[in-house]
Amino acid sequence: MHRFWGLLFLAVPVVGTAVYFLAMSGVEPLRGLGLPKNYNEAGVEIDHLYNVIHVIMAVVFVLTGLILGGAIWRYGSNREGRASYFTHSNWMEASWSLAAGTVLLFLSLYQLDSWAENKLDRPVVTLAGREQPQPPLVKVVGKRFGWEFYHAGVDGQLDTSDDIYVENILHVPFGEPVVLQLQSRDVIHSFFVPGLRLKQDVVPGMEHFVWFKATSPVELEILCSELCGWGHYTMQGRMKLMSRSDYDRWLAEQSPWKEFAAASAEEAE
């Protein structure tokens, strides 16, 4: 019987590794596991960190599985006498604390620059002769259950009467840094764009800024990755990345005045 348990536990690292390689080589139905293709310049760095963590995890996962399975295989039946119990071992405690601590310390130091770049140092622009943080292009308001997008109108300012409101479909230009301002109307949401490696909790009463520089005109998925209530799953949005000229044209088309002018022209006919 012990052979069976030993094999079963050994199967965990073996099957896990096999699934990983099959998924990576695109075998159905495992294809597409993992993160979708990255379309953010900074996402390369995030993906690198993600892979580093995964390599560490893979080593720990395979080692643990092999040791556990091997131990059951080896010691499962021909136990002589009782197992020995002990309650304390300074040496063991120190070694696993140190090992884990070293890995965590390494990770925290290793990611410092990316953290600063993606969470702290908002892009800077020169406005009115002085350098200041780039103003947000779109205000994103999370609510139960959806995303409200207030695009700064042709005046380039948010919170003015020509803001363009679209729900669940975010329009932004690619090829330039874009800053979004995130707010919540009710509870904690989390703004997640897997294709941009962008994720930020949105806490009511707070204001968050995220930024990215998208690389191509694609349409990406927006999700809420904070369980926010019964309709959490419905908080799906789309992000339409368009060239700057397309974006400007889109903005002009959405202008409330333009809409009215067209309507009044129709009425006149």
Binding site: P135, P136, K139, V141, K143, R144, F145, G146, E148, Y150, V154, D155, Q157, L158, D159, T160, S161, D162, D163, I164, Y165, V166, E167, N168, I169, Q181, Q183, R185, P204, G205, M206, E207, G229, W230, G231, T234, P256, W257, E259, F260, A261, A263, S264, E267, A268
Partner: protein
């Protein structure tokens, strides 16, 4: 052995599930019932208990159930209700959520709307309590954001717009990705629920005039509305046989449903408020010219008296103790005092949502629920907002209304204090006291 038996038992339970879920039914308008009965009690009379099943049977006979909607259509092919609501679309929107072999979605209302607006359209779905403002109760027949004046129902285009674009600043989402036919089906279903609800309210309001006489002869009604045979003709299958209705019922349905409700809906397209062209100066520059804004400001504080509710700063902090019509509907009943919960507990027990004052819009935050196009704001000012304290402005000329629109549009840019710091760092919905 016991263990095996137990495991087997559990397996049976798991296979059988928890039994069939009963299909939902339209909820009776208990709040209106309680209200009408109390008004009646003032005169020392009780309603006959039989009225409840009678009203329910009549409504089912005329309008069907959430799974099988039907239209009274007592006037045959020329029935104005057929013009208003398409039975095929109703069937697509009604029923449980599913899809047919061709992938056509069915049960749209329950998929997208019912969790807030309720199966009955009473605005009391499971999530209603968590939302501000409450989801719309269709049964009063009042809609806020529309192109028609007060007391006229919204056009199909208005309803489509709200479904497609949502209502910014409220919980109403935008169903921008639904195909056109699904939105059209939902529009018809909303009209159906509204007309049904309005008719129910009319009926309940008339009960006291019956002086204890039966509302309808239930037996003949049941016989009359039994769908004859599942024949080919869809119309005869799903509608009440006109001949089977006795004369009393004909009169009742004709008067309360057709004259008072359906006709109003049939005439709405003629009532759309035309928006005259704005002054040319408004179209030419991004922000309206100073003198127009100044004129609007004078009106805001003077003749139009916007200041009373929206406040001197426009922050929506003027009159804040008003209620909307959906609450006032029962709140204004004699003996009810909003400050004493005990005085209206019976309404809450009947399903009314706890009263919450309606907040005048904060005009410094440019979130316009009915749309931010100048024509939208024009209509809000000219027509008011149905069901809310926002009044229409019959005394203003079109030029004056445009001036108010210009001022409203300029308010987010206006400097309130001398601070002048960038104001984008205020949490939404909070008071913004610094201008740009």
């Amino acid at each position: 052995m016991t263990r095996v038996a137990l495991a087997f038992g559990w397996l049976l339970v798991a296979l059988a599930g928890c039994g069939k879920v009963p299909s939902p039914e339209f909820r009776a308008n208990q709040v209106e019932w309680v209200k009408q009965e109390r008004l009646n009690l003032e005169k020392g009379e009780h309603f006959r208990a039989e009225y409840k099943p009678e009203v329910a049977t009549l409504l089912t006979a005329l309008f069907g159930t959430p799974d099988e909607p039907r239209l009274p259509a007592i006037y045959g092919d020329a029935d104005p209700l057929n013009e208003l609501v398409d039975l095929e679309k109703l069937k697509q929107a009604a029923g449980p959520v599913s899809s047919d072999e061709k992938g056509k979605h069915l049960g749209l209302y329950r998929e997208h709307c019912a969790h807030c607006h309720g199966v009955t359209g009473d605005g009391a779905g499971p999530t209603a309590l968590a939302l501000y403002p409450y989801p719309r109760d269709f049964r009063l027949g009042k809609f806020k954001f529309k192109s028609t004046p007060l007391r006229a129902p919204p056009t199909d285009a208005d309803l489509t717009r709200v479904i497609r674009k949502g209502i910014p600043g409220s919980a109403m989402p935008a169903f921008s990705t639904l195909p056109d036919d699904e939105v059209a089906a939902l529009v018809d279903y909303v009209k159906y629920l509204t007309i049904r609800g309005e008719f129910e309210r009319r009926l309940l309001a008339e009960l006291s005039s019956l002086a204890g006489e039966p509302l309808v002869d239930l037996k003949s009604l049941r016989a009359g509305v039994k769908p004859a045979e599942p024949a080919e003709g869809a119309a005869s299958e799903a509608s009440v046989e006109a001949t089977a209705l006795d004369e009393q019922l004909q009169t009742l349905v004709g008067e309360y449903l057709y004259e008072e409700v359906v006709d109003r809906w049939s005439d709405r397209d003629d009532a759309v408020t035309e928006v005259p062209a704005p002054p040319a100066s408004m179209l030419e520059v991004a922000t309206a010219p100073g003198e127009l804004v100044a004129k609007g400001r004078d009106l805001f504080f003077g003749k139009a008296n916007c200041v009373q509710c929206h406040g001197a700063t426009g922050l929506g902090d003027g009159q804040t103790q008003n209620y909307d019509d959906w609450t006032n509907d029962w709140l204004k009943t004699p003996g009810v005092d909003v400050l004493s919960r005990a005085s209206y507990q019976h309404f809450l027990d009947a399903g009314a949502l706890p009263p919450r004052p309606v907040r005048p819009r904060n005009l410094r935050v440019p979130v316009y629920r009915g749309g931010n196009a100048p024509a939208d704001i024009y209509r809000r000012v000219a027509n008011g907002i149905e069901g809310t304290p926002m009044p229409s402005s019959p005394s203003l000329t079109p030029e004056e209304i445009w001036a108010v629109v210009a001022y409203v549009q300029s308010m987010p840019y206006e400097q309130l204090s001398t601070g002048g710091a960038a104001a984008s760092n205020q949490p939404l919905g909070d008071r913004k006291v610094t201008g740009k």
